[in-house]
């Protein structure tokens, strides 16, 4: 990743063949990048600014005129109870999703053995990651189903009280988060399994000779060496938590009574279902600003790595 970049723009430029063909070497990288930069600008970069602009208008998405209302959408938003419920749920998602890297590491350590059939066991642990949110939502809706679902059947066997995870407003967000953790743990597990293969065996041997074992070894020798994997696992988990939308939409539609709504879903509901595009854009801006903190953190780390 850190191989020295070549500075073709410096020495010997005049002798370069591209010059002969009339294309300045300075233009070459831009020619290679142009198509990607153009489509990415049209579909990603420019729309971000457009959303900021749009959030200052009252617009139903259909009428040809938009009414400028300044920060009106934002003042309305901060007085909207649904907004604060969504923020609160987003915080739950963010915090509880961090179990993803923790449990992922635990499973990776459990499975990091060279025994027969381990390959297939690892794949079976991993493959929820390739399922779509819709399928995971349906799988867990069935699992949580109050009268016949497997969860209540199991609770019944142990004589525990029956629950209705998706229609109880105190349980619903946590039940959806548990479903969301399923593929997230799988993802973190695979990152850690890859990380574990790169742990320096000599250091482990040295630590063993010094008498480090089990948890002490894990904490002082292994986890420090897994830092790159941890970094990526935490980043994808935080981003994943804030991006979650599919499960809420499929499992509860934000219900009961909006109690499982999160910003991503709230935004969709306001703009598509209620035709409040300007208001929706304002919600999106808030979500974007929250995420920018993490994106900036990631980019800063990446740039430091680049400069090595």
């Amino acid at each position: 990743m850190n191989s020295p970049q070549q500075s073709v723009s410096l020495a010997g430029e005049a002798a370069l063949p591209s010059k002969r063909r009339g294309i300045s070497i300075h233009l070459v990288p831009w020619i290679f990048m142009a198509p990607a930069v153009i489509v990415f600008a049209i579909y990603v970069v420019i729309p971000i600014f457009q959303s900021f602009w749009l959030s200052l208008f009252d617009w139903d998405g259909l009428s040809p005129t938009k009414k400028f209302i300044g920060i009106g959408n934002y003042t309305a938003l901060f007085q909207d109870e649904q907004f604060w419920t969504s923020i609160k749920n987003n915080i739950y998602w963010l915090i509880l999703f961090l179990f993803g890297p923790v449990i992922g590491l635990a499973i990776a350590i459990l499975l990091n053995q060279k025994v027969r059939a381990m390959r297939i066991v690892k794949s079976l642990f991993f493959f929820p990651f390739v399922l779509s949110g819709v399928v995971i939502g349906l799988v867990f809706s069935w699992f949580y189903e109050p009268s016949h679902g497997l969860l209540n059947t199991i609770l019944g066997i142990f004589g525990l009280p029956q629950i209705a995870p998706l229609s109880d407003e105190h349980l619903v967000t946590f039940s959806i988060i548990a479903a969301g953790l399923w593929p997230q743990i799988a993802y973190c597990m695979i990152l850690y399994l890859t990380g574990l293969t790169a742990v320096d065996p000599e250091q482990i041997e040295a630590a063993r000779i010094d008498g480090a074992r089990g948890l002490r070894m894990l904490w002082h020798v292994i986890i420090p060496q897994l830092r790159p994997a941890t970094f990526i696992a935490v980043v994808v988990t935080v981003i994943g938590a804030l991006r979650s939308f599919d499960l809420v939409q499929v499992m509860t539609d934000g219900g009961p009574f909006g109690s499982s709504s999160i910003l991503a879903y709230f935004m969709f509901q306001q703009s598509i279902t209620n035709f409040r595009m300007g208001y929706g854009a304002a919600i999106a801006v808030v979500l974007f600003l929250i995420m920018s903190v993490f994106i900036a953190f990631f980019l800063r780390h990446m740039i430091r790595n680049e400069r090595g």
Partner: protein, 281 residues
């Protein structure tokens, strides 16, 4: 190796380990097994309340019924029509851009790289209204192109990050010697770099295929008719029609999940290579 190899442990500990793995795996897959079991049950059996006992008859015909009674085939086909061109397009653009970023030093290099990486992480909602309006204005709303173009553009961000990092690892000496022999930059890309990219192309293709196949949000926002709907929104719509027919919902879910799952099991190594890029430094 950490933890210590279990083969060297005493027999009792070894068997305890195997048991632990087996139990963990069963718990892990429990929700999925429930769906698998339900998908082969008959409606009468479900009505009788036999949910979790052995099925009296194995009703594989539920799967046939899904195809006969619903546009499931159409939905699957739509997903393929959307996914394949988007994957091909994103990878092509990203290979070109990745080469430009990896092998040339120029002003704005890091800025462009940050744009692709950062853009790849933004919440979809900040793009939703403008992108949807653009599709409406261009007459693309509710067509395949609305989704193909968006996915192509958006995934170019991640693909460029991936390609740029991969191409950086290729030795510069290869390019130098080609230059000395008089090859121009485009010939170098075509005949030196591209042939070395095959493993990266495969890894990336598998990964992006899954991402786009599983997209739900954009399908919800950009298309609505059955003729274009991909399998994710299709399945979700069917669920509304089937209400409590869990045997059909289960069979439908499994059908929808099968292509990416099959792809993963067949091309596991590429898939994981793509995903764990950067987990080891």
């Amino acid at each position: 190796m950490f933890p210590a190899p279990i083969q060297e442990a005493p027999a009792a500990k070894r068997y305890a380990y195997y048991a632990l793995v087996a139990i963990a795996l069963i718990f892990w897959l429990l929700p999925l097994m429930a769906v698998l079991l339900t998908s082969i049950r008959s409606l009468t059996e479900l009505n009788e309340g036999n949910y979790w006992g052995m099925p009296k008859e194995w009703k594989f015909s539920n799967y046939i019924e899904v195809f006969q009674q619903t546009p499931m085939i159409r939905y699957m086909l739509n997903t393929v029509i959307i996914t394949l061109p988007a994957v091909a397009g994103a990878i092509t653009l990203a290979t070109l851009a990745g080469f430009g970023l990896a092998k040339y030093k120029f002003r704005g290099n890091l800025l462009m790289f940050c744009m692709f990486v950062g853009g790849n992480f933004v919440p979809f909602q900040i793009l939703m209204v403008p992108v949807r309006n653009m599709a409406v204005r261009m007459g693309l709303y509710d067509t395949f192109w609305a989704l193909i173009l968006f996915h192509l553009a958006f995934q170019t961000g991640f693909c460029t990050l991936f390609m740029r990092n991969f191409i950086s690892t290729l030795p510069d000496a290869l390019m130098e010697s080609a230059r000395v022999e008089g090859a121009n930059e485009f010939q170098i890309f075509w005949s030196i770099i591209l042939p070395l990219m095959r493993p990266a192309l495969a890894a990336l293709a598998v990964l992006i295929f899954t991402f786009i196949w599983n997209d739900y949000f954009w399908a919800l926002v950009m298309v609505q008719s059955d003729a274009v709907k991909p399998v994710t929104t299709g399945l979700s719509a069917l669920r509304g029609e089937w209400v409590a027919s869990w045997q059909l919902i289960s069979a439908g879910s499994i059908i929808a999940a099968l292509p990416p799952v099959a792809m993963f099991f067949l091309l596991q190594r590429q898939f994981i290579a793509g995903l764990t890029l950067g987990a080891v430094k």
